[in-house]
């Protein structure tokens, strides 16, 4: 069953060809890149169908038995994440191609494919050290994409991004060292088998490893207090790249979900509850940081970036419950918030490229003001969690699943108040951008010195709008088919909490216990 590794190998083989053979012809690179990504979607569909029977499929690299070699593990969760990645990538890639973003710097498509390789690899791996490797791949590729097309502010923000994340990687190594020193293994299933055997009063080292790993993942997931890098990074990245980055924070969330549920989750005397005790308050503060950021934003791109911070907070509040129902809710919200964030960035790109920068100040209306306003409205209500889009359902699911008397007041207040601030923030921004502008008949040519290209006055073509519409359409689909989707997710979270099933699938039946 080589299908499982294809989401890694396909982009990994395509990328060097794109970067080294096709680098002189952008059209050729575009065709190849889009075709590759479309194939990736097809593969992801196949894998999701494969995984939907509830079985955990294991791919042993080099034919070495686990835990000694590296394994890839395909279960419902990893299949779903690969699916999410590939769909998002296709939407974003088409946007980048039709708006010409890909031609504004070198090696966009090669880096894009390497990025996909890194993300898919991280979702599929069953080994924490291999997870580190793929974190590196996706970090370095994302740095390349982030500074694509250059510019002073972008380079500065890029430096911040890469320094913070390299610091995270360094800590990752420390954590892995500690983990190996306390358990003697790096395979997730093997960890899941060994960590529970560590007595509660001798678990100091493995506890340190677990919590340091969480800090590492939190850096990726933009959790307070290590979220500082995100707003400037996303706000200054090329818009399609920022849209793709919607999945990057989810990599962090995924890692927490995977590792801290299986290896350090319920049933481990030494580490159970450790992650949650930090994750919960941090996520609550993250919601607040995001909400304040949205309401206080001076520019559109940071506003969207902060709304992502807030959504990560909401997501991780649910994760912190480490219960199957809350996990189902969290996963649903994860699907939703990925497309909502992408839709917002893509939409913002259409507007900002026709405006003088993204400063939230009154300017003459852009061409197609009404259309952009409608797109913004759609994407914003999705992000703010208003009906009829899936954000509202996701929020209801999360609220409904968090009923622990000790935390309910905090969680509900944070989520609901955060939503309110977000709604008000988006309403103010939209009102300035799309409504107030109509009261300005002539352009107040107060041009800001930014790295944005000169505003184009051409109307957006159908192809340029299509990716944004596709993102919103996916949200509508997620909302209409909430029932079937949640069925899949319920199975996913049941599978996630079935530690014994995972262990026996990876290590064989004798590996249990």
């Amino acid at each position: 069953m080589h299908w499982i590794i294809l989401p890694v190998i396909l982009p990994a083989m395509l990328a060097p060809i794109l970067g080294f053979v096709m680098r002189h012809d952008i059209s050729l690179a575009r065709v190849a890149s889009i075709a590759g990504t479309a194939t990736l979607v097809a593969i992801a569909v196949g894998l999701t169908m494969l995984a939907s029977d509830g079985e955990t499929h294991v791919y042993r690299l080099g034919d070495w038995p686990a835990p000694f070699g590296i394994v890839l593990v395909l279960d419902r969760l990893s299949a779903m994440m690969v699916m999410l990645t590939s769909l998002l990538a296709l939407v974003v890639l088409i946007h980048a191609v039709v708006t010409g973003w890909d031609a504004r710097g070198r090696h966009f498509h090669a880096l894009f494919q390497f990025q996909l390789m890194g993300i898919c690899g991280a979702f599929l791996t069953g080994d924490v050290f291999n997870l580190f490797v793929f974190f590196e791949v996706l970090l370095i590729a994302s740095y390349g994409l982030m500074i694509h097309a250059g510019g002073r502010e972008r380079m500065q923000a890029g430096l911040q991004y890469v320094v913070m994340n390299l610091a995270g990687s360094t800590l990752f190594l420390f954590a892995l060292g500690t983990l190996y020193a306390s358990t003697g293994t790096l395979n997730i299933a093997d960890l899941a088998a060994k960590v529970p055997t560590i007595p509660a009063d001798e678990a100091a080292l493995v506890r340190v490893a677990a919590i340091l790993l969480m800090v590492v993942f939190a850096v990726k997931a933009a959790l307070f207090p290590v979220q500082f890098w995100l707003p400037a990074t996303y706000a200054n990245a090329p818009a399609p790249v920022a849209a793709l980055f919607a999945i990057m924070t989810k990599v962090g969330a995924y890692a927490i979900i995977r590792v801290h549920t299986l290896a350090f989750g319920p049933g481990t005397p030494g580490t159970d509850g450790l992650a949650a005790s930090w994750l919960f308050p941090a996520a609550i503060v993250t919601i607040a940081v995001g909400a304040f950021g949205v309401l206080g934003a001076k520019r559109l791109m940071p506003l969207i970036a902060f709304s992502i911070v807030g959504s990560m907070g909401t997501l991780l509040v649910a994760v912190a419950a480490f219960s199957p129902t809350a996990m189902t809710a969290a996963l649903y919200y994860m699907l939703h918030s990925t497309f909502a964030a992408a839709g917002l960035f893509l939409m913002a790109d259409l507007v900002v490229s026709r405006r003088n920068g993204d400063l939230l100040r009154t300017q003459a209306p852009t061409i197609q003001n009404g259309l952009f306003a409608a797109l913004f409205f759609g994407a914003a209500i999705a992000m703010a969690g208003m009906p009829p889009l899936s954000g509202f359902l996701g929020k209801l699911l999360i609220l409904d699943s968090l009923r622990d008397p000790g935390t309910i007041a905090w969680a509900w207040t944070a989520i609901l108040a955060g939503s309110l601030l977000t709604i008000v923030g988006f309403a103010r921004a939209g009102s300035t951008l799309f409504w107030k502008s109509t009261s300005v008949p002539v352009a107040s040519a107060e041009s800001e010195v930014t790295d944005m290209p000169e505003p184009a006055s051409q109307p957006a073509t159908a192809m340029e709008i299509a990716p944004t519409m596709a993102a919103i359409a996916l949200l509508i689909g997620l909302s209409v088919f909430a029932g079937p989707v949640s069925n899949y997710l319920e199975g996913t979270s049941a599978q996630l909490f079935d530690r014994a099933g995972y262990i026996s699938a990876v290590l064989g039946p004798e590996g249990e216990g």
Binding site: D63, I211, V215, I423
Partner: protein, 953 residues
């Protein structure tokens, strides 16, 4: 589920599907647009009427489709008397408003958009009243907030419209969010979100300890939506919307959503003290306050808006009483208020449309100029005043009757007195509407000469005025509808009798007093208004705007201060967090007993250790001089390599040395284009802070390492050592791990290296295409440049070393599988050999003498590694499965060939390519910075006498 109950889905969907039509049909003209807006509404109304007979018989029509069973959310619809009443009102008034708006909107207004929003709203509102699931109700509830936002902001160029829209969204949105909480609690108590189950569980809900929080949260939703004090302030500002919107949303339907909800939940939530005191008191206060303010408003729409607030208060109060008779009165007043208030708004819209002003002070004497409007306005205003034979009288009498015997905190006077006061004020502003607008002398200073509007515009209010009179004179006609709705609210089987004359009751006295008192109040209106205007009072809008602005300002400050872009602070927070949570986790448990003792410290180790510390401290002290810092970092690296050698890790040592060499060389080259010293920027305090953090983190890592070096644990590497030769075909277990056991990791890492090469190349291009290239061109490096840039000795030595180095590289590569070495180190060694040539003779000179493209080299390396992995698929094995064999080629001894070596070749090529691409990028920058290209390998060549520097720029 009967066949016809499926109509409920259609009814709910029709407005949303219909919302697509106006935007398109506007292309066929304004009338077509209006007609096609009316079609879905009318269809829905017809379907509703098909269901009406069953509901009037007392049945409940239900239909359900599963949606999100995990949550308990279903697309479930529920039509009983209350729902039928509201649905009819929504669709009926919707039709009238569609007609009215066709004539009201001017040619400049985008009509298609207007009707689209209107239908969206209609769908949302309709959804609320026929939802059979309270989560579904919440969805529609929020949708009304959103569509109302769009409608209020319809005239987007007007600041009042934008502010009003945002205010309405913020207030009703906040209420909606609170209600989410309330509904979720309710669902938890009952165990279901289905309305049927909830309505049946009243006792359990009232007995629950969560009753009060649920009640408060749900009421917050209802009060904000229905503009109850202190949330009433958004409604008047929503009047910035076009008048059809005000008539539809902000008097007839949306603001009644809160009332509807309280009525819907009446059987479940009412009947407790909490309910009575919260709901009835809020209603009473709102009723009086709204009426007082209405009396002094000069803007016609503002007057009507506050009157609406007041009447909503009245309805709230009636529901708050919690008695069945009061509920009947509330239902009846809902109908009556709808008829007169919608008509009044339309009348105000007509006056505005015709005279171009809504300011009462500039109006008066319109009765002759606009007789039809006058009649409609008068009939409906008298109903609002509660004059007999108009329908408003009937329900107001019922209200006063209920008020007259309701006790509030032990007093029988509070409620009757205030209710009468409210009624009196209501009479006064109703009179004012008639007298100051239509009566009085005709004026000659109207902004626009008024006359009656076309039939299409007055038809809708006229129809409502007729209803006002019909119900007012023959209330028995409304009895059936009121009965079935009231039964739905109370859950009882009531048979109320609506009649004009109830005999001489306290209510009659109160009513008469109100009607007379209202007249008196109008007579002294002018001086009262002067007094009112002079009196200071809080302006809700300003308070609200101040609140939002200050929260936004605070948010901005918090955000700016915390996300100030200072990377050193971000890192400090990161490190402190890691240390803190690590320490907390560590001290939350204990350690296993140590299994190893400490070793003695041999002198050589002590020396190395001391050197390491000295070098590290020196870096910290001298980092301002970048060159020195680099050299010191090199020292640290070499010491660590020595440590690896001492600890019997030759592979690590080799790798460390070669990486160290290449990195330092590249950094030195890069330093050429950078300032040579780091400016002193940090104040002492910051240095101390960072120092403390660094020491803490270092101590943490050291402690951790100490803790685990004392403890043995069984690891998976035992397997690696045991299987390296048998399974991997190599005796160097480190290499076998790298290319076989964990070849997949290596595959990932070489890709990282390759990407890094690409990025450096891309950044270099971005740099040279951007403004930085100008700066580069203007940098003057001449003063610190050596005269002999390509010295003879270095050229000669590196040439001699070149084949040797290549040989060593090849050797290291080939022996890698069994002895220390491998593709990674080999790549670096060859790279060093090449680097030396470039340093000796200049990049361009060297470059001209080789044909390899570094891009291709990286690409080929990655592809070879990948293909090696894929190759194993052909043999039915997973990715990167290795195999090996022994080959005997005659003059050479038998040697081993492993597929892993092919993989290692990929590693080799990628490493070499990446390093060289970095070098290439640096040299491109150097060219931009004005470095000259030499034609000769060395600056002074003794073989060619007389030739000095031959350079071209």
């Amino acid at each position: 589920m009967s066949e016809s109950s499926h109509f409920l889905f259609l009814i709910a969907l029709l407005p949303f599907i219909g919302a697509l039509l106006p935007g398109l049909m506007i292309r066929a003209g304004r009338t077509a647009c209006a007609v096609f807006t009316a079609v879905p509404t009318a269809l829905a109304l017809i379907l509703l009427m098909m269901l009406a007979p069953a509901v009037m018989r007392g049945e409940v029509v239900q239909a359900e489709i599963e949606w999100l069973p995990q949550l308990g959310l279903s697309a479930s619809f529920f039509l009983d008397g209350l729902g039928l009443l509201f649905a009819t009102m929504i669709l009926g008034v919707g039709l009238l408003i569609t007609l009215y708006a066709r004539f009201y909107l001017s040619g400049d207004d985008p009509m298609g958009q207007f009707y689209t929003y209107l239908l969206l709203f209609q769908g949302a509102m309709l959804g609320i009243v026929i939802s059979g699931n309270i989560l579904l109700l919440l969805i529609f509830w929020e949708l009304t907030s959103l569509s109302s936002f769009l409608l209020i902001g319809y005239w987007k160029h007007l600041p009042e419209g934008r502010q009003g829209a945002r205010m309405a969204l913020a207030v009703t949105g906040a209420g909606g969010l609170a209600m989410i909480g309330g509904m979720l609690i309710l669902g938890d108590i009952v165990g279901s979100y289905e309305l049927v189950d909830i309505l049946a569980a009243g006792d359990a809900i009232r007995a629950s300890e969560w009753y009060l929080p649920a009640l408060i949260l749900i009421l917050l939703g209802a009060f904000t939506k229905s503009a109850q004090f202190p949330f009433h302030f958004w409604l008047p500002h929503a009047m910035a919307a076009p008048t059809p919107v005000s008539a539809y949303l902000h008097s007839a339907t949306m603001v009644k959503a809160g009332i509807f909800l309280m009525a819907r939940m009446w059987p479940v939530l009412s009947g407790t003290d909490a309910w009575f005191y919260i709901v009835a008191t809020t209603g009473l206060v709102t009723m009086v306050l709204g009426a007082v303010i209405a009396l002094f408003k000069d803007d016609l729409k503002a007057l009507l808006a506050f009157s609406t607030v007041s009447h909503l208060g009245l309805l709230t109060m009636l529901l708050g009483f919690g008695t069945q008779a009061a509920a009947v009165a509330a239902v009846f007043h809902i109908i009556n208020h709808l008829t007169f208030k919608a008509a009044l708004f339309m009348t105000a819209g007509i006056v505005d449309h015709e005279t171009h002003t809504r300011d009462i002070k500039r109006l008066g004497g319109l009765r002759h100029l606009m007789p039809i409007t006058f009649v409609i306005g008068t009939v409906t205003a008298l109903s609002m005043a509660g004059i007999p034979f108009f329908n408003g009288f009937l329900s107001k009498e019922m209200m006063l009757e209920e008020a007259s015997h309701t006790k509030w905190l032990g007093s029988y006077y509070v409620i009757p007195v205030f209710a009468t006061l409210g009624a009196l004020l209501s009479v006064a502003y109703s009179y004012r509407f008639i007298v100051h607008v239509f009566l009085g002398p005709e004026r000659d200073d109207y902004p626009h000469k008024p006359h009656d509007p076309p039939f299409g515009m007055w038809a809708a209010p006229a129809l409502l005025a007729v209803l006002v009179l019909v119900i007012g004179i023959m209330p028995v006609l409304a009895e059936a509808v009121v009965t079935v709705a009231a039964n739905a609210v109370t859950g009882a089987d009531l048979h109320p009798h609506l009649k004009i004359w109830h005999g001489v009751t306290p209510a009659l006295y109160m009513s008469v007093f109100a009607i007379i008192g209202g007249g008196v109040l109008l007579a002294v209106h002018a001086p009262l208004q002067r007094f009112w205007n002079a009196a200071p009072r809080p302006e809700a809008k300003e308070i609200f705007e101040w609140l939002v602005d200050s929260v936004a300002g605070l948010s901005r400050r918090i955000t700016d201060i915390s996300h100030n872009g200072a990377i050193s602070r971000y890192l400090a927070i990161f490190v402190v967090t890691s240390v803190a949570v690590g320490a907390a986790a560590f001290f939350g448990s204990g350690l296993a007993a140590p299994t190893r003792g400490l070793l003695s410290v041999p002198p050589v180790i002590a020396v190395g250790w001391f050197m390491l510390i000295v070098a590290t401290v020196s870096v910290v002290m001298m980092h301002h001089s970048r060159f020195r810092a680099l050299v010191l970092i090199g020292v640290i690296g070499l010491t660590i390599s020595a440590g690896f050698v001492y600890l019997s890790a030759p592979d690590l040592a080799l790798t460390q040395i070669s990486v160290e060499t290449v990195t330092i060389m590249l950094l030195l080259l890069a330093l050429h284009f950078l300032p040579k010293s780091t400016p002193k920027e940090s104040p002492l305090g910051l240095k101390i802070r960072d120092g403390v953090i660094a020491v803490l983190a270092g101590a943490g890592v050291a402690g951790l390492a100490y803790a685990f070096m004392l403890r043995d644990i069984g690891t998976i590497s035992d397997f690696h050592i045991a299987n390296s030769y048998e399974g991997g075909g190599g005796t160097n277990v480190v290499n076998v791990i790298l290319v076989d056991f964990r070849g997949y990791d290596t595959y990932g890492e070489i890709i990282v290296l390759g990407i890094a090469g690409l990025i450096i190349y891309a950044v270099m291009h971005a740099l040279l295409d951007g403004p930085a290239s100008r700066r580069l061109r203007n940098v003057d490096y001449s003063q610190d440049r050596s005269r002999d840039r390509h010295p003879l000795m270095m050229v000669v030595v590196t040439r001699v070393l070149m084949p040797l180095a290549a040989m060593v590289g090849l050797y290291i590569f080939l022996r890698g599988h069994n002895e220390p070495g491998g593709g990674f180190v080999a790549g670096l060694v060859i790279a060093i050999a090449l680097l030396m040539q470039y340093m000796a003779s200049g990049f361009a000179w060297t470059q001209a003498r080789q044909r390899i493209q570094y891009h291709a080299m990286i690409g080929t390396g990655v592809v070879i590694a990948g293909l090696t992995g894929i190759g194993s698929w052909l043999f039915g094995s997973p990715f990167l499965t290795s195999s090996y064999t022994y080959i005997h080629l005659p003059p050479i001894e038998e040697f081993e060939v492993a597929t892993a070596m092919l993989f290692d070749l990929g590693v080799f090529l990628t490493v070499l390519g990446a390093v060289m691409l970095m070098l290439y990028s640096l040299s491109r920058i150097a060219r931009y910075a004005g470095e000259t290209v030499n034609l000769e390998p060395m600056d002074y060549d003794p073989a060619k006498t007389g030739s000095g520097d031959r350079e071209e720029a």
